[in-house]
Symmetry: C2
Subunit: 244 residues, 2 copies
C-alpha cells in the first residue's frame, strides 16, 4: 500500500489516496482519533471512484464523526482499471436485452457478475490486510457495498468482517443464493422498491436466503439512486451498533 496524496477535509477527516499494486483507493480517518479506529470498507458501485466520490466522501465524513475509518478501492474494470473482453461483451448483451425489453438471461447475469466477484473479493481481502497493518486502523471491520454479490461472497469468506450493509440493486447470479445461505454475520439490506434496473423479487429471495439470524431489509421509494438520507443514516447506525 502506497500513499500518493493526503489532505484534510474541514479539519475533521484525513483523506489519503493510495495504490495497492495497480489498484487505486482512498482512506479516510478521523483527524481527532487517539486510538486505532474501527474500519468500514466502502465498496463502490461499478461506476468508477471518481464518479462515486461525492457519495463516498459524504459517508466517510459521517463515519468519521462516529469515530470510524473508511476505505474504498476501485473495482476491477471500473474507473481507469482495465476492462476485460467477457465483461464488455456481457454489458453489451445486457444493453441489447434491456433495449429490446427482453428478460435478462442467467447467462448474461453470470457473465456480468461472477467474474467481477471472483476478481474483486481477493482484492478487498488484500486491501484489508494492508489497512489493518496501519497503526491508526484497528478492528472491528464492517462492510458497506454497492454490488450485493461481492458483499455476499466477502461475508462468507472473510471472517474479519463483522457486519455488512448490502445494497440490493444489481443482478444476482443463481449461484449467489447458495452462498447467501452460508452468510451468518448481521446484515442490513437496502432495497429501492421501484428500482427500474433491478429485479425486486430476486432481491427479496436473496434476503430470504441469507443465513444470518440477524438481518433487516429496508425498502424505500425513489429509484436506483434515490436512497433517502434517513435510510443512509439507519445503515450507518446499524454499523455503529455492531462495530462498537
Amino acid at each position: 500500500m502506497h500513499f500518493t496524496s493526503e489532505q484534510r477535509l474541514d479539519d475533521a477527516v484525513i483523506e489519503r489516496e493510495f495504490t495497492l499494486g495497480e489498484i487505486p483507493g482512498i482512506l479516510w480517518t478521523p483527524a481527532s482519533a487517539s486510538a486505532p479506529a474501527p474500519l468500514i470498507l466502502l465498496s463502490p458501485p461499478p461506476l468508477g471512484l471518481r464518479k462515486t466520490y461525492p457519495r463516498l466522501v459524504a459517508r466517510a465524513r459521517h463515519a468519521a464523526a462516529d469515530g470510524f475509518a473508511t476505505a474504498t478501492i476501485e473495482l476491477p474494470g471500473s474507473g481507469d482499471r482495465p476492462r476485460w473482453p467477457a465483461a464488455e461483451q456481457a454489458r453489451a448483451d445486457l444493453r441489447r436485452a434491456m433495449e429490446a425489453g427482453e428478460p435478462v438471461s442467467d447467462e448474461i447475469i453470470d457473465a456480468l457478475i461472477l467474474p467481477l466477484v471472483d476478481k474483486s473479493v481477493p482484492e478487498w481481502q488484500a486491501a484489508l490486510d494492508a489497512l489493518l497493518s496501519l497503526p491508526e486502523i484497528g478492528g472491528p471491520v464492517g462492510y458497506s457495498g454497492g454490488v450485493i454479490s461481492i458483499g455476499t461472497r466477502l461475508a462468507v469468506v472473510e471472517p474479519r468482517i463483522s457486519a455488512a450493509v448490502l445494497f440490493a440493486g444489481s443482478f444476482v447470479p443463481r449461484a449467489m443464493f447458495e452462498e447467501a445461505r452460508q452468510v451468518t454475520i448481521p446484515l442490513h439490506v437496502l432495497l429501492q422498491w421501484d428500482d427500474e434496473g433491478n429485479d425486486r423479487q430476486a432481491a427479496l429471495d436473496l434476503f430470504d436466503a441469507f443465513g444470518s439470524k440477524e438481518k433487516t431489509l429496508h425498502a424505500n421509494m425513489g429509484g436506483h439512486t434515490g436512497v433517502p438520507q434517513s435510510a443512509s443514516d439507519e445503515a450507518g447506525r446499524f454499523l455503529a451498533r455492531h462495530l462498537k
Copy 2:
C-alpha cells in the same frame, strides 16, 4: 372524555386513564411540556390494553422524551369491551382452519377484520376530537398501530393524521388493497419476516399498493412479537422526523 386516574412515571411522564363513552383509554404526556405537545395515537394489537400495557408504556416513555404525547384506546371486542357474535365465530373459524393446516379463506379474513375496522376507525376519530381539545395537546398527529387495516382506513379518512407507522402482522382483507392505493401520507411499515401467523406475500403486496410517495418497509427476523429494539427506535425516529 373523562379522566379516571392520574399518576407520574419517573417524574417524566404523566399517565392518565380515561373513558370516552364506554371506551377505556390512556393518555401519556411529557411532564415537562411547556407548549402543546404533538400527538401519537398508539393503536394496540387486539389483545387488550392490560396485556399490551408494558409495550405501550415503553413507547410512551420514549415518545415523551422526544416531546410527544401518546394516547391509546381499547379496541372493540378487546379487553373488557363486549365481543360480538360474528367476530367470535370468525375467530373460531380461523383457529379451526389454522389447526387443520388449511389456508385461511377470504371469508374468514373479511369477517375477522372488516367489522373491526368499521367499528374502531370512528372511535379513533372521536378520541382524536377529544384529545385535540385538551390544551396540553397540539398537532401534528401521528399514528402507530398494530392492526394494519385499521391504520390504512384511518390514513385514508382522517386528514389530521400526518404520518403513520403500520405493523404488517395481521390478515388483510382484499378490500383493503383498494383503500391502500388511496393513502398518501408518509408510511413506515414494519414486517416480521418469519411471522408464523402472517402472510408475508400479502404484506409485501399491501406495501406495494400504498399510494404514498414516501413509504419505507423495515423487515426483521424474530417472529410476530420479536420486533427488535432498533426497529422500534427507527419507527420512533420516523414519526419524530415527520411530526416536527
